[in-house]
C-alpha cells in the first residue's frame, strides 16, 4: 500500500511563502492498494491537485471516504475534476447527519447549489454515488481491501477509517479530540461518564490496534491545549500516547494549525521527538507534509 499526502492543514488553507514546505492545502490523503485501487480520505483543497494528477489514468474508479463534513474536509470536492469528465466511477462515503436527519448525499449536495457553485450536481458527467455508512460497516474494495470505521470525538459526527489490504493496515482519525470528563469529580454524573469514556477510548484503541500507519489529528501542542479544550482536535502528546497504546508502527502528525509556519512545525516536531524518545517497540514519528509519500 502507498500513501500520499495532498493536504495536511486543518481548518482553513494556509498558502504562502512560510508554509511552502509542509503545504497549505487542507486535508486530503491518497491511498493506493496493492492492486492500485484508489482510496481518498477527505476532500479538502488538497483534492484539487490530486485530481490533476489523475488525468493520465482516466477513466478511473475511486472511493472517497469523508471523515466528516466540516468545511476543510469537503471544500475541495466540487473541484474533483473527474466528476466533470464522463466514464469515471466515483463513490463517496461518509456519515449521517442526525441533527437535520440527512444522508451524506443530501448534506454534500448543498455544495452544488446556486449560492455556492456555478454547476449543479445533475450537470456532472460522472455522477458520484453517495453511501451513508453506519459505524463499523465494512466496505470491500476490489478483492482484498476492506475499509471500516469507528466514531471518533469531534463537534460533528466523524469517522476514523481503517484500511486493511493483504495484511497491511492504515488508520486515519479524521478530526479527533481525546475524550475528557465534562463533569467535575464531586458531581453525580462523574463516575458514569468516567466509565463511558474509558470504554470509548478502549474501543478506539482496540480498533486501531497494531496498524502499520496511524495518521492522527495533531493540531495542538500540549501547552496550547487548555485553551483549545472542546474544539475537537488532538495534541502531540495525545497522538503519541494513542499510537503507543495501540502498538502502531508509524505515526503521522497531521491537521497542522493554519497559523503554524514551516519553522514552527519543525520546532514542535523536534521538541516532540525529544519529549518522547523512542524505545524498542515505539512507533516512528513523522510530520505529514504535502507531497510526502510512504510505502507500507
Amino acid at each position: 500500500m502507498k500513501i500520499k499526502f495532498w493536504g495536511v492543514r486543518g481548518s482553513i488553507p494556509a498558502p504562502g511563502p512560510k508554509t511552502v514546505k509542509y503545504g497549505g492545502n487542507t486535508t486530503c490523503i491518497e491511498v493506493r492498494t496493492d492492486d492500485n485501487e484508489l482510496i481518498i480520505f477527505d476532500g479538502g483543497t488538497g483534492i484539487f491537485p490530486l485530481a490533476q494528477s489523475l488525468f493520465p489514468e482516466l477513466p478511473i474508479s475511486c472511493h472517497i471516504f469523508i471523515t466528516h463534513t466540516h468545511w476543510d474536509h469537503i471544500q475541495g470536492l466540487p473541484f474533483f475534476i473527474p466528476m466533470f469528465i464522463p466514464g469515471n466511477d466515483i463513490t463517496i462515503y461518509g456519515t449521517y447527519d442526525p441533527v437535520q436527519r440527512r444522508s451524506l448525499g443530501e448534506v454534500l449536495s448543498q455544495q452544488w447549489t446556486y449560492s455556492y457553485y456555478p454547476v449543479r450536481s445533475v450537470e456532472l458527467k460522472s455522477q458520484p454515488r453517495y453511501v451513508t455508512l453506519q459505524e463499523y460497516e465494512s466496505v470491500r474494495i476490489g478483492c482484498s481491501t476492506f475499509v471500516s470505521n469507528i466514531y471518533m470525538n469531534h463537534p460533528v459526527l466523524n469517522f476514523g477509517y481503517r484500511v486493511e489490504c493483504n495484511g497491511k493496515s492504515i488508520f486515519f482519525t479524521g478530526d479527533h479530540e481525546y475524550m475528557y470528563n465534562i463533569h467535575e469529580p464531586e458531581e453525580r454524573n462523574h463516575d458514569e461518564f468516567t466509565d463511558l469514556i474509558r470504554k470509548k477510548n478502549k474501543n478506539i484503541k482496540n480498533f486501531i490496534q497494531g496498524v502499520d500507519v496511524l495518521i492522527a489529528d495533531t493540531s495542538y501542542t500540549d501547552a496550547e491545549y487548555p485553551d483549545k479544550k472542546g474544539w475537537g482536535h488532538g495534541t502531540y502528546g495525545g497522538s503519541v500516547a494513542l499510537a503507543k497504546a495501540a502498538g502502531v508502527k508509524h505515526l503521522f502528525f497531521t491537521h497542522h494549525e493554519p497559523t503554524r509556519n514551516d519553522e514552527a512545525l519543525e520546532r514542535i516536531y523536534q521538541e516532540t521527538l525529544e519529549r518522547f524518545p523512542r524505545t524498542e517497540g515505539d512507533p516512528e514519528y513523522h510530520l505529514a507534509r504535502e507531497g510526502l509519500e510512504f510505502e507500507l
Binding site: 442526525p98 463533569h183 454524573n189
Partner: protein, 293 residues
C-alpha cells in the same frame, strides 16, 4: 381502542419538551462558553428530550455501536459528542413547548415533578445496590420515563386525561382502570407502545408497562429477568414513596400499598424515607437547571 392507540403513537412524534427545558436549552446554546455538563443537566431532567434522544440513539442507524442499547444522556454525549447533542436538543426544542397547563387544567409541571421525584428516589435507592455507575444511571432514566404515557394523554387528549384524573380521585379508583373506561387504553400500555415503537431499551419498556404491577410480565427464564425485576422493584417502590409524600402529581388518588413481593425483595433498601426525605427530593428537583429561570 386500537384506532386511538395508533393515532396517539404517531402523534407522540410531535410531543414537545417542557417549556423550562426549551428556554434553558436555547439560552445555553446561545452562549459559546456554555458548559457541556449544563446541556446534559437540561436534557436528563426532561422526559421528552430524554426519550427523543434515546429514540435516535437506539434507532437502526446507530444500533451497530459497541453499546447495543443507549439509556442515558451521558451515553448520548459520549456517542455523539457534545456539539451534536446540543444541536439535536435545539432541534427538539424547535418543535415548541408543552403548555404550563393542559387545556383542561392539568399542571404539566406537576407531572414533571413527579417523574423527577421518582427518578431521584430510584437513583438514591440504586446507590445502595452493588452495580456499576452506568447501571445505576439507568434507574434515574427509568424513573423519569415511567409515566411517559401520561404526558401523551395530558397533551393530546387533555379533556379525557383530566376527566380520568378527576374520576380516579372522586371514585377512589385506580387511574389505569378509569383510563381504560374513558379512553380504552391506560397510560402504562400507551407508554409501553410508544417506547416499543421508538425502540427504547427493553428494560425501560418493561418499567413503563409494568410499574403498576407487583411483578414484571416477563418469563422468569428470560436472561435479563433478575435485572428487569430489580429495576421494576426500585421504580415501583420509588413511585409509591413519591405518591405518599406528594411529590408532584401522578393523577392517582391515595396509592395502593406497595405490593408485598416488592417490599420483601427490597427489604434492605427500605424504608425509603430513611434513604431520602421528601424535602431532599424536592431540593434536588428544584436544583435542576431547568428551574433556574
Amino acid at each position: 381502542m386500537i384506532e386511538i392507540k395508533e393515532k396517539l403513537l404517531k402523534m407522540a412524534d410531535d410531543l414537545p419538551a417542557y417549556p423550562q427545558s426549551v428556554r434553558m436549552m436555547v439560552e445555553l446554546a446561545s452562549d459559546i462558553d456554555c458548559a457541556p455538563k449544563d446541556l446534559v443537566n437540561v436534557i436528563e431532567h426532561d422526559p421528552v428530550m430524554t426519550a427523543k434522544f434515546l429514540r435516535l440513539l437506539n434507532s437502526d442507524y446507530f444500533a451497530r455501536g459497541i453499546d447495543k442499547k443507549i439509556y442515558s444522556t451521558n451515553q448520548a454525549v459520549v456517542r455523539l459528542g457534545v456539539n451534536t447533542v446540543k444541536n439535536i436538543a435545539l432541534d427538539i426544542a424547535s418543535i415548541g413547548a408543552l403548555p404550563v397547563k393542559s387545556k383542561d387544567g392539568i399542571h404539566m409541571r406537576s407531572i414533571l415533578e413527579h417523574a423527577l421525584g421518582v427518578a431521584i428516589v430510584s437513583r438514591r435507592v440504586a446507590e445502595t445496590l452493588e452495580l456499576s455507575a452506568e447501571k445505576k444511571a439507568i434507574f434515574f432514566v427509568a424513573g423519569l420515563l415511567h409515566d411517559f404515557g401520561k404526558l401523551i394523554f395530558a397533551y393530546f387528549m387533555p379533556h379525557a386525561c383530566s376527566q380520568a384524573w378527576y374520576r380516579a380521585k372522586s371514585q377512589q379508583k385506580k387511574l389505569t382502570e378509569i383510563e381504560h373506561l374513558l379512553i380504552g387504553i391506560d397510560h402504562a400500555e400507551l407508554g409501553y407502545a410508544i417506547a416499543k415503537r421508538w425502540r427504547l431499551p427493553k428494560a425501560l419498556r418493561v418499567i413503563i408497562r409494568d410499574h403498576h404491577k407487583p411483578n414484571i410480565a416477563i418469563e422468569p427464564d428470560h436472561p435479563q429477568y433478575l435485572w428487569y425485576r430489580q429495576l421494576h422493584d426500585v421504580v415501583t417502590a420509588s413511585n409509591h414513596y413519591c405518591k405518599t409524600v406528594n411529590i408532584g402529581q401522578s393523577g392517582n388518588p391515595d396509592p395502593t400499598p406497595l405490593p408485598k413481593p416488592v417490599q420483601e425483595r427490597l427489604a434492605e433498601a427500605m424504608p425509603i424515607s430513611e434513604r431520602i426525605s421528601a424535602q431532599e427530593v424536592l431540593r434536588e428537583i428544584h436544583s435542576a437547571l431547568i428551574f433556574a429561570i
